[in-house]
């Protein structure tokens, strides 16, 4: 039978407290006056004629037994704090998984209302969020990470197996979260840096952007070549229309069409494809392509079934105490 202790360090607390209290009580015993010591003993009264009373002193074995019971209870409780668990059968290993880094553009141009749904104008941001939600739902079981970028790229969600976390963070996305213009090259560089932390695993980059032209310190094409060198596929999903102008209100912004050609160049260089958001088939295709990619072997920490044992310790500690109290009550009546 294998027993693991989950919180062995917590069991140190009672031990330390016991040692501290014994040393402290020794110290205070010397300083307390006799009266206070008598009061501290818990109901010992002086009586000049106490020697006339029958010597119904508690027998030695009873006092020792009581002491032993209290000690046993203390020991059991201390052990219970350490949370012993019985190790059961080994749980199956995690399935292989992909590391997918979502590079999300949150520049100001995301507020442009390029899309129409049921006759209502929808901003690029709304479409992007729906899209990402869809991605997060469909890519269950994969490790997802998210980098948001505009002028500067930031790592919003590190690679995680928790899809809920990704969906929660999606709701926080607002345009201009990271600046006004989109620096695609910088974002890819940060993604590469993030991927470099686990060099033995091959990630997949998915870039959601409405970038028109390259702004930033790193040229997007150069960044894409770097990704290609590390054999990382960079899927791009273009958001917004390619039309040169837009009908209707632009909210005071200069209209900016998506530069599909640039995105295609980037993807091609890494051996991936470009898709257009708003086209359901294209998105399906994107997901299918991504899931065809190489799967990484999941990090395997051996996992076992765990049967908690603390209640047995509590029972073992408290049962003698209860029986003792019952017996004493019976003996006293």
């Amino acid at each position: 039978m294998n027993i693991d202790w989950l919180t062995l360090y917590l069991a140190l607390i009672p031990v330390v407290l016991l040692l501290a209290s014994t040393t402290l009580s020794q110290r205070t015993d010397r300083s307390l006056s006799e009266v206070e010591r008598n009061m501290g003993k818990g109901g010992v009264f002086l009586h000049p004629l106490a020697h006339l009373l029958p010597a119904t002193k508690i027998p030695t074995w009873q006092r020792h037994l009581q002491r032993a019971i209290i000690l046993w209870l203390w020991l059991c409780l201390t052990l219970a704090i350490a949370q012993p668990v019985q190790r059961g059968t080994k749980l199956p290993d995690l399935p292989p998984e992909r590391d997918i880094l979502l590079l999300v553009d949150v520049s100001i141009s995301m507020t442009l209302t390029d899309y129409a749904l049921d006759g209502q104008k929808r901003s690029r941001m709304d479409v992007l969020k729906t899209l990402l939600q869809d991605f997060a739902n469909r890519l269950q079981g994969e490790r997802l990470g998210m980098i948001v970028f505009a002028e500067n790229p930031y790592l919003l969600v590190p690679l995680t197996r928790d899809p809920t976390l990704v969906q929660r963070q999606l709701q926080r996305l607002t345009p201009t979260l990271a600046g006004r213009v989109s620096a695609v090259g910088d974002a890819i560089t940060l993604a590469l840096k993030e991927a470099g932390k686990q060099p033995q695993r091959k990630p997949i980059f998915v870039l959601f952007t409405d970038a028109d032209e390259s702004i930033g310190r790193v040229d997007p094409e150069a960044a894409a070549s770097l990704a290609a060198e590390s054999k990382i596929p960079l899927y791009t999903i273009a958001i917004g229309s390619t039309a040169a102008t837009m009908e209707g209100d632009t909210g005071g912004l200069a209209y900016q069409p998506v530069n599909l050609a640039l995105l295609q160049t980037l993807s091609k260089r890494t051996g991936a494809t470009t898709y257009q958001a708003g086209d359901a088939q294209a998105v399906e295709q994107a997901l299918a392509d991504i899931t065809r990619q190489h799967q990484n072997v999941a990090e395997q920490i051996p996992r076992y079934e765990q049967q908690p044992l603390y209640h047995w310790l509590l029972l073992a500690g408290l049962l003698p105490l209860m029986l003792w109290q019952l017996w004493q009550r019976r003996a006293n009546t």
Partner: protein
């Protein structure tokens, strides 16, 4: 922790007044032989001015007190005996040891004893008697003979003061203090023993008898109600003077009855012994408010 004194100043003032009125009460006068004021004739024979009687000569008698006429008449050597003259005095032994610092109702045994001591001292000083005494604790505190009211008040205040912390060393026993009293007190002094007589053992007998030979001895046994009868207080740990803790269930009527009988036997035995030796014995409970009704006070001077 600050403990209050056994008796406050107001209580002492009240006791002073009560001592005055109690001495006016003549119901207890027959308990005392002393009725005359001043340098009075004692019932003891010894050196003095008044001729009392003659007795046969014993080796060591002063030749100047030879009663020549009787010697000549009887043919055997006789000496004159005179009636001693002395100043009436009281000596108070006030026990303030461990066992006296106990009380469950109204006041401590030591406080009750202090009240009695104050009453005796006040009554004595109001009658012009000399007062001396000893506070029995570790170490015993002796108070020299004095007729001065201020000095007597000082003694009473010392008796009524807060008890000093219990000593770690052994406290003096009654048997160790009695011979010292015998040595220091003038013959014929009224000796008051205010104690619970917890250590009235065989060793005391000789000393008490010796004291009785020269002094009238008044013993006041101060007891607490809990020493005669235990209250139905449920489970308690009672620690005796020997430090042994007894765990008892006071809800048990049989146990309480046993204790009552044993305590009564013990106290009766002590009273019998003291009375048998010839002492005047009074039992005083701590909740008694007027001890002057039970304890004979020195009085009757000049009346």
């Amino acid at each position: 922790m600050v403990f209050p004194p056994l008796l406050t100043e107001t209580e002492l003032q009240a006791l002073y007044q009560r001592a005055r009125s109690a001495t006016a009460d003549s119901s207890l006068q027959n308990l005392l032989e002393q009725r005359q004021a001043g340098d009075v004739a004692s019932r003891y024979r010894g050196a003095g001015l008044d001729y009392a009687e003659s007795r046969a000569y014993q080796p060591g008698d002063e030749p100047r007190f030879m009663h020549w006429s009787v010697t000549a008449r009887t043919g055997k050597a006789h000496v004159k005996q005179f009636r001693e003259e002395r100043r009436p005095a009281v000596f108070i032994v006030f026990d303030r040891r461990r066992a006296m610092r106990f009380g469950t109702k109204v006041r401590l045994k030591a406080a009750q004893a202090a009240r009695v001591a104050a009453l005796i001292a006040f009554a004595a000083t109001q009658q012009g008697w000399a007062v001396s005494g000893v506070i029995l604790e570790a170490p015993p505190h002796w108070f020299p003979t004095s007729t001065d009211t201020h000095a007597v008040w000082e003694f009473v205040r010392q008796c009524a003061a807060t008890c000093p912390p219990l000593p770690t060393t052994h406290e003096p026993t009654l048997a160790s203090i009695l011979p010292l009293i015998n040595a220091s007190v003038v013959r014929g002094t009224h000796v008051y023993l205010l104690s619970d007589f917890a250590d009235l053992d065989a060793a005391c007998e000789a000393h008490i008898l010796q004291l009785l030979h020269h002094h009238p001895l008044f013993t006041v046994q101060v007891l607490d109600t809990a020493e005669c009868e235990l209250p139905a207080a449920g489970r308690l740990n009672l620690q005796g003077l020997d430090g042994v803790t007894h765990c008892v269930n006071l809800a048990d009527p049989i146990l309480r009855e046993q204790f009552r009988q044993q305590a009564a036997t013990l106290h009766d035995e002590q009273a019998q012994r003291l009375r048998g030796w010839g002492c005047h014995y009074t039992q005083l409970l701590t909740d008694v408010d007027a001890p002057e009704l039970a304890v004979p006070l020195p009085h009757g001077m000049g009346t």
